[in-house]
């Protein structure tokens, strides 16, 4: 019984990092109706960023997140102007393909540089023992940071002028432009933010699990599932969706082989998408 509870708690910790990654995806969707298929590659960029800073240069893994956020924000704004700006407002196929193209370029560069072998970032952090079970310190730290960053995003979106502009553009781009908000600029900012969130999540995942250049696709599909559970375009829902997915994984692990959990996840994903396209955690009435 204790084993099950421990598994669930650990699932919740890891799930909140999934939620953080999905917040990046859902923020971009909510603001500009673009499904960012560079998401997986950006997560991998975060992983290798922390690998370079922490393992190669010897910076503290958690301290290295700050420069990574800054760098990935700049990268995101750049990506917006290169690949997304021209396809805003076009049929979904166009933005899916333009972001996928960038994904190919990034993954291609990554494989050329690092090959496809396994990397890991070793972080020594004391775990927390409850009875016979020890929760890894990295999992606790990652979950705490995920919630702190989610809180900061909430404060930014609801209590700063710029954040309110982002929400206004998400709500109605024409109306936002009419009241004088520089919408294009805000779109690029939102894309940068979404990319920075994905990159941070990647950095946190790297402190917990080993990774390769190709790990991105798994975490990207994982973010899709979380995003759909939480409702596309709803950052708070994404965090809840991540926690819910972690809960599901934690709950299922003691009872069935790990490979079956992904079957359940994807079936749930399709059912939720068809039956509740606004997500499970959308309490507002439409």
């Amino acid at each position: 019984m204790n084993g099950i509870i421990a598994s669930i708690l650990d699932g919740l910790l890891v799930g909140s990092v999934y939620g953080l990654a999905a917040m990046g995806l859902t923020l971009i969707w909510g603001v500009m109706n673009v499904i960012n298929l560079t998401h997986g590659a950006i997560i991998v960029a975060g992983m290798f960023g922390v690998f370079l800073l922490a393992t190669v240069l010897g910076v503290n893994a958690y301290a290295s997140i700050l420069p990574l956020v800054a760098a990935s924000f700049v990268l995101g704004v750049g990506l917006y102007w290169v690949a997304v700006h021209r396809v805003i407002g076009q049929p979904p196929l166009m933005s899916l393909l333009s972001t996928f193209a960038v994904n190919l370029i990034l993954i291609g560069l990554g494989t050329a540089l690092w090959g496809t072998q396994l990397f890991n970032v070793t972080v020594t952090l004391p775990g927390l023992s409850l009875g016979r079970y020890t929760f890894p310190g990295t999992h606790i730290m990652a979950a705490v940071l995920a919630f702190v960053i989610a809180g900061l995003l909430y404060l930014f979106l609801h209590h700063t002028r710029l954040g309110k502009a982002v929400r206004a553009v998400a709500n109605n781009r024409e109306a936002a432009a009419l009241v004088g908000i520089p919408t294009t600029w805000v779109l690029s900012l939102a894309f940068g933010l979404g990319v920075a969130l994905a990159c941070t999540a990647g950095a946190l995942i790297a402190t917990m699990f080993p990774f390769t250049v190709l790990s991105g696709s798994t975490y990207q599909v994982n973010s899709f599932v979380v995003t759909v559970l939480g409702g596309l375009g709803n950052p708070a829902g994404a965090l809840l969706g991540g926690v819910a997915l972690g809960l599901l994984e934690g709950l299922a692990t003691p009872f069935m082989p790990v490979s079956w959990t992904s079957v359940i996840e994807f079936v749930l994903f399709v059912i939720v998408l068809i039956a509740f396209p606004r997500g499970l955690f959308n309490f507002r009435r439409s």
Binding site: L93, S98, L273
Partner: protein
């Protein structure tokens, strides 16, 4: 227009001639190397043409289109292995099942539009892949093998490779004829109307849910047959290859390269993509950067030539519209 009116049009005979040429060229000098590259091209043309029914005609982005190819492969290989069926009935029965499943699924997921539909198709592909990885009768994650004795039905492995090549070229030709026949039918007009404006089409009396599900189901059939033939030829199928989401997207790239919505564009795009890919893979300088080049090419097409090759040709020489559909 009568049912067989398309056989009186020049474009139909262009398709027939191109398909015949495809089948005959590697026979000249028994060129096995060329045949192997054309096998891939025939599969790609089949996948791209059928995907075109969804993306180009109906305007629904089927991102997980490869699921039909993979499932068709699994049914074909399984029927051949477990029941000892000859390849052709195994492939046809498998494809009929895949097509039927697609119809039922289509009624559900085609209620979603735009990016939501695209996401759902990714979900369907991933769900099927995850399921097959755990499904023991189909060999789970390690997959299924075809025993060499199964090639006996064609008179040996060498003859079997040629026979399957001709069958794949036939499937490719049928895909092109099907695309063309649908485009020049009332059904196709309904699909194009849905692609332009679904609500307006519904108001004007197009039975949109049924039309969409039928297009989805039809676009599943020939890719499933091609999957059965292709994986029988490889004598091996495993979930990672059968439900490879990146091949799914590559097919979309082929469609964009040639020009979505046109029969010729889907075919030429798939053929060019296969040639290009072959050169990138074999060239020492480029093989490391194959993905980078493919990505850059795709980005340039999407941003600057969204109509693809045929879009450009049709704009440059408007008279070609009447001949090359």
């Amino acid at each position: 227009m009568g049912h067989f009116a398309i056989v009186r049009r020049p474009f139909f005979w262009i398709i027939v001639a191109a398909t015949a040429l495809f089948a005959l060229v590697p026979l000249w000098g028994n060129n096995v190397e060329l045949r192997e590259s054309l096998v891939l091209a025939a599969v790609y043309v089949t996948l791209a043409s059928n995907l075109n029914l969804m993306i180009g005609y109906t305007g629904y982005v089927n991102f997980g289109n490869i699921v039909f190819f993979g499932l068709g492969g699994y049914f074909g290989v399984y029927f051949s292995n477990a029941f000892g069926w000859p390849l052709i009935p195994a492939a046809l029965v498998g494809a009929a099942i895949v097509s039927g499943l697609a119809y039922l699924f289509g009624l559900g997921i085609l209620r979603l539009r735009g990016a939501y539909f695209a996401l759902a198709t990714i979900g369907v592909n991933e769900a099927v892949r995850a399921f097959v990885q755990n499904f023991d009768p189909w060999g789970g994650a390690s997959g299924l093998y075809i025993p060499i004795s199964a090639f006996g039905q064609f008179g040996g492995p060498m003859q079997a490779l040629w026979a399957i090549y001709f069958l794949l070229v036939l499937v490719m030709g049928l895909s092109l004829v099907l695309s063309y026949a649908i485009k020049s039918s009332k059904f196709g007009l309904g699909l194009l109307a849905i692609g332009q404006n679904e609500d307006a089409a519904a108001v004007l009396g197009v039975a949109t849910p049924r039309y969409k599900a039928m297009a989805y189901s039809i676009s599943a059939f020939l890719p499933a047959v091609a999957g059965a033939l292709f994986f029988f030829k490889s004598a091996f199928i495993q979930p990672v290859d059968a439900f490879d989401l990146s091949l799914s997207v590559e097919v979309i790239v082929m469609l964009m390269l040639g020009g979505q919505g046109t029969v010729t564009g889907a075919a030429i795009g798939a053929f060019l993509y296969e040639e290009l890919r072959g050169h990138l893979l074999t060239s020492a300088t480029f093989s490391n950067f194959q993905l980078v080049i493919a990505g850059a090419l795709l980005l340039l097409i999407v941003l600057f030539v969204p109509g693809g090759l045929m879009g450009w040709v049709h704009r440059r020489w408007p008279r070609t519209r009447t001949v090359l559909e």
